[in-house]
Symmetry: D3
Amino acid sequence: MVKEFFEDYHIGEKLVTPGRTITETDLVLYAAFSGDWNPVHTDAEHAKQTRFGGRIAHGMLVLSVGGGLLLRLAPKSMIALYGVEKVRFMAPTRIGDTIHTESEVVKMTELDATRGLVNIRGDVKNQCRELVATFTIRYLVGRRDQETTA
Amino acid sequence: MVKEFFEDYHIGEKLVTPGRTITETDLVLYAAFSGDWNPVHTDAEHAKQTRFGGRIAHGMLVLSVGGGLLLRLAPKSMIALYGVEKVRFMAPTRIGDTIHTESEVVKMTELDATRGLVNIRGDVKNQCRELVATFTIRYLVGRRDQETTA
Amino acid sequence: MVKEFFEDYHIGEKLVTPGRTITETDLVLYAAFSGDWNPVHTDAEHAKQTRFGGRIAHGMLVLSVGGGLLLRLAPKSMIALYGVEKVRFMAPTRIGDTIHTESEVVKMTELDATRGLVNIRGDVKNQCRELVATFTIRYLVGRRDQETTA
Amino acid sequence: MVKEFFEDYHIGEKLVTPGRTITETDLVLYAAFSGDWNPVHTDAEHAKQTRFGGRIAHGMLVLSVGGGLLLRLAPKSMIALYGVEKVRFMAPTRIGDTIHTESEVVKMTELDATRGLVNIRGDVKNQCRELVATFTIRYLVGRRDQETTA
Amino acid sequence: MVKEFFEDYHIGEKLVTPGRTITETDLVLYAAFSGDWNPVHTDAEHAKQTRFGGRIAHGMLVLSVGGGLLLRLAPKSMIALYGVEKVRFMAPTRIGDTIHTESEVVKMTELDATRGLVNIRGDVKNQCRELVATFTIRYLVGRRDQETTA
Amino acid sequence: MVKEFFEDYHIGEKLVTPGRTITETDLVLYAAFSGDWNPVHTDAEHAKQTRFGGRIAHGMLVLSVGGGLLLRLAPKSMIALYGVEKVRFMAPTRIGDTIHTESEVVKMTELDATRGLVNIRGDVKNQCRELVATFTIRYLVGRRDQETTA
């Protein structure tokens, strides 16, 4: 659904996004983009010897994809990212895992007459329904009343 | 310097990373990677009419690059991302801005006999020394004593 | 809106997608991906001397983006691409142009008891409302009745 | 061979292009570029449960690569894409399949004194010689006579 | 032309490749791919203060593109790269420059009964005909006689 | 360690870089970037029938990555690439191989009062300690004395 204004969100509102398979390509692209070449992400020989037993996705990759998935279901929303809170990585995401995000609007704050903050908690889960990461994203959203009376 | 263990970090330790120019390419690549095609990032005509006056970088792009820059100065560190806290976006990053990160180790916690948490606060600034984003990254780092006696 | 089945489409139904600015990055990436390095797309000196006066986007790039934009508004649709018809390029798309697609369901055909074909005509227009390309995409879509009685 | 002008083409002329293996990388890159994240292309768990039994390439990816392969054998041709017709997808292209294009000049039309249209039919086949897609590409090509007398 | 065997090459044979504009995108992609984030390539503020007065392309980028251009004109050649010699960078390649390669077969050596070495000197020049780099690439090529009598 | 000036290098100085796994993604990206689609890199069916038994990385890819790895350990060095010499490819790098570079400063030449040349020999080895490529990179580095008295 199109979310244009602060008033279009409701506390307790939930969404389950489509899934996306995290591929070796995603790890290579994210390492290159971010410059984070930590060997646990990019050196298969090293990664084999860690407790993970193989390469794992960057936490920030999981956050980028997990957050991005939310926007697929809100393709026309007019939002700006205000902040991110309480990002925690619970379990590794390996090459071939398929993740999706389950979200809930947990808090709404009127910032001023024209803008509000919407806090959305996201739980990123893999194909085994295992929780791999949680985060709270804070979107800055315009308010309808102000817009329409302006 | 090579940071291998928890004991290699010290509270109050500061770093200033090299800079990186945020290009139109970065915006296009990050939109494609994350699936976040919000028009303020990818539709120049729309972006012109916002209060930003043009396309701006995704907050998560700034966080990915700002965090990644820290790792350029620690190319062999054996760390895992435990969490991220208090991410706030203060000012837009526009195409052509050059950002760097100024970091400080703000907290160190012994998690158990083999691992510790290192909290690093990062201030992302642009070429005008303007603060564009702040974050606290929490790294999970192995402890030396345990490793060497094991 | 979620389009799951053939029955969710209706002849005459129209959509206007968000816009996307076609960047130099898009031209470079598409040339590299497709292997189509025609100098009118990748050699600025040559392109200056053509009747276009500068580099223009690949027709197939415009088709890929113009078709992809349609799916942003249908993020969960379960479709397969059956065919494409009547693709015509009317005007060049230059670096910096912002295109969107205006679509209309123009034909629906019951293929058999379980599947139907939906023909969608797309008009790709730029920021000056100039028509740059038209196409007819034919989607293969499952039928609801069959699914629910199966 | 270098094809510079309309007169360099001949009806019935055939070409067989080199092959290109369609990799997982290609699917990820094309999904990101086009914004078409249909789960049959990007969600391995979902794709397993479809009649395809796994992820398949986007039809438009096959068309982009199948068309691009033609240009490898005509690296200096001065053409513009006029249109595309009769694109049909017969069989899925899976990750790891190697496709090539077999083409034939099927129609040539003098558009005016300076330009002509060349219709090329392409059959995209995989490593088992199975036909996966067909298309007719229409190139706009300059005419030699006009050029040399101009 | 299709070069299949050692015998298809001739000393003194020359080629002039099509041109390719080196874009900001190319610099960003090559920095990311290679991990070479030297600020003269990726930090516009720093680069302004160098004697180049702005960002310049990586030497290895120029070599990769300059060498790759040669293969556009030999799309079906069956070769392997044996070595590279005498790579020298004479002048910077800036964002927006268009480079091409002028090559000459300078040496041919029969390695054994089935293989030969072909040394090709390449001069990479920009749109002002200024020499920006030179290199000698050594290709390993199969010999026809052996192949046909085998 | 930060290498700022010619005087920071010493003949005989050695480095062993972190490793990087060469993925199918790297082959696809490098083929696309360079335009080198030689079937031994991009056509799995063809590559199977060569003496390599499968796709192998481009020599220039190995050189780009092998050289780039050196810079990870010298993230702030102010250098320019002056030339490359004696590049030889000894063994193929296959998809999944993990390579690293062992380097040694082999020659230092004072070019003039403000600049010097540092020749670094690099041996690229895979996970079996097999030598896959060697090269000599020549960096142009500023001299400290001149800089500080200027």
